[in-house]
Symmetry: C2
Subunit: 334 residues, 2 copies
DNA sequence: GGGGATACTGGAACCGTTTCCACGACTAAG
DNA sequence: CTTAGTCGTGGAAACGGTTCCAGTATCCCC
């Protein structure tokens, strides 16, 4: 494999000069730089990242910790993140912690240790002891699509999003509103999106409606689970006239159950989700949209800022907005 | 930062021995190994991957080239791949080539060069000159979720999948069958999933049906595009009674247009997709299922095999199967 | 008890850069 | 025409391991 010494020799300079020329340092005569660059091109030379980093210190690599690779939400986050980090010539290392076992081993072994300059955690809460492990890595930590207490984050305000959704249903005149909340099947016991639940209770209370525990069900994330949750709601003595789901996939599952039961959406039951999944538009689902890809991209910028030593916002909260489509409407007059 | 010399000193051995003990080499006395391991644990020592690789040669890193991060198909592929590669303690470097510009720059700059031991290309065709660039990296190349000529791959047979879909429609009695094919909006000019188109033409020909060019439309991938394509089909003098879409998302878009036009699925028009997207079940879409996550996982095993020097299958083709749901049925008797 | 093989261990070269320090050549100021 | 600075360049010391080679101690067997 051709190395920098070869390039230096061909260009007729010392390695020190070759190194400076190649990494764009000042104090290199333009003519010399050109000679080195030509030599490098001729030999099809690329610096060895290993060697370069051994000597230099930085890795130009960022770890991304993601709980679900095949969900749209995380894919979009990753997409945004990747786009700005690639622009800055950083490499992305993916660490997938799908279930409790993955999670345990990730935080115990810290496989990213010494391999990256920063860690971005995607939409995933983290416990105190885990945080401490993470800090052992001694690198910057950023959260995207969620918040982790003391670190900078880019996220939406789940409380606001939830209220937008529930308020819409209230505004339409619904009084019996159910909620399908989700927990993460792979990470039992993790309070996922607690703000979305609090928003529900708060909005109902503000509207002077009684809290009916039967109307709030919690299921694992996913369309199938949403369908089952809806079946449960339909089996109540007095089913809801509207359903607020924590995410669009869950909402779609609920809709399917409603239709199978011979009821119509929104005439018999209204359904609203959160996210604005690409398929929400196709399925005519009313939802609260959040800018997912942008959250990822912004998180990338935060990382870059941190790396360059600039002071950074402690947190960026992005706006969500209600997108009214065909799955919500006024309740039937009883 | 604590380094191996510190560990060696604390354990009272030479660096050579420390290195061997830490990397599980033979010819280290058990007692010595234990002392070294204890010392390492006490100092919370981790080897520097940079140094280790500089000296050792391998990087234990695999590059993944993926055209779309936020599509379910690629996410699932990635998921499977990651799961087996993580098991083997490999790190995954993500390279997203979303559009023509990304693509150009990726193959020109070869940013993964010298950084990885292998490259996995996910569901993406590659041109001859690009292949040559890739080979300059001098590492193993594997394709998953698609094929790239001379390299090992893990994929389905698009021709078979397509025929399963079209045959189902034929079996139901349809004679006027449309196809919505897709191309990649980010990669203009790329023949995507050509097998799925060939299957369509072949199946119709086998059934003795005339080829009507109006019935085969090609649009960019996505639900919205599927919706538009369907509109086009509905504007024909004699619209199809069944539609074969190259992917589920596209099929869902088509269904939406059909419904908006006041027609019913499957009574008026049947729709079939390919993939078995998680939402296909929720939306009651008939489709041809393919094991996406498994393709990724298998590709991971192929990479591992290649890395260990074992001879590998030139290609693995996985089975697809028709999943009949509610979006297909016999045509109305005219 | 002697000889050869075997199990451990240490010394030191090497992997390919980056960067500190020193040095000569010019330039601009006095 | 000195003198203090710049600018451009080279020498060489890290950076943190891996591994070849060689040396010593131990072991087995005849």
């Amino acid at each position: 494999m051709v190395n920098m010494a070869d390039v230096a020799r061909l260009a007729g300079v010392s390695m020190a000069t070759a190194s400076r020329a190649l990494s764009d340092h000042p104090h290199v005569a333009p003519a010399t730089r050109a000679r080195v660059l030509d030599a490098a091109a001729e030999l099809a030379y690329v610096v060895s990242p290993e060697a370069s980093r051994l000597a230099g210190g930085v890795t130009d690599r960022i770890a991304v910790v993601v709980p679900h690779l095949s969900r749209w939400f995380f894919g979009a986050l990753l997409d945004g993140l990747e786009s700005v980090l690639r622009e800055a010539d950083k490499d992305l290392l993916i660490y997938h912690v799908g279930d409790a076992a993955d999670r345990k081993s990730f935080f115990e072994r810290l496989p990213a240790r010494r391999k990256v300059d920063a860690v971005v955690v995607l939409g995933m809460p983290i416990a105190r002891p885990e945080r401490e492990r993470l800090e052992m890595m001694g690198v910057h930590i950023v959260a995207a699509g969620g918040q982790i207490e003391p670190y900078p984050f880019v996220s939406i305000d789940d409380m606001v999003a939830g209220r937008q959704a529930v308020n819409h249903l209230l505004f339409l005149g619904h009084r019996r509103i159910a909620m399908i909340a989700t927990n993460d099947p792979g990470q039992p016991g993790w309070p996922i999106r607690a703000g979305r639940s609090r928003a529900y209770h708060a909005a109902l209370a503000d509207a002077g409606l009684p809290a009916d525990p039967d109307l709030a069900v919690t299921v694992p994330w996913g369309g199938a689970a949403g369908a089952e949750a809806m079946a449960e709601l339909l089996s109540l003595r007095e089913p809801p006239t509207a359903v607020y789901a924590h995410s669009d996939e869950v909402a779609l599952g609920a809709i399917r159950t409603i239709r199978r039961a011979g009821l119509r959406v929104p005439e018999d039951i209204s359904v609203i989700g959160i996210d604005d999944h690409p398929l929400a538009e196709l399925t005519d689902l009313t939802t609260v949209a959040q800018p997912v890809r942008d959250q990822g991209a912004l998180a990338g910028q935060v990382v870059l800022g941190l790396l360059s030593g600039a002071a950074t916002d402690p947190g960026i909260t992005m706006a969500t907005r209600l997108v009214v489509r065909g799955s919500t409407g006024p309740p039937r007059v009883a």
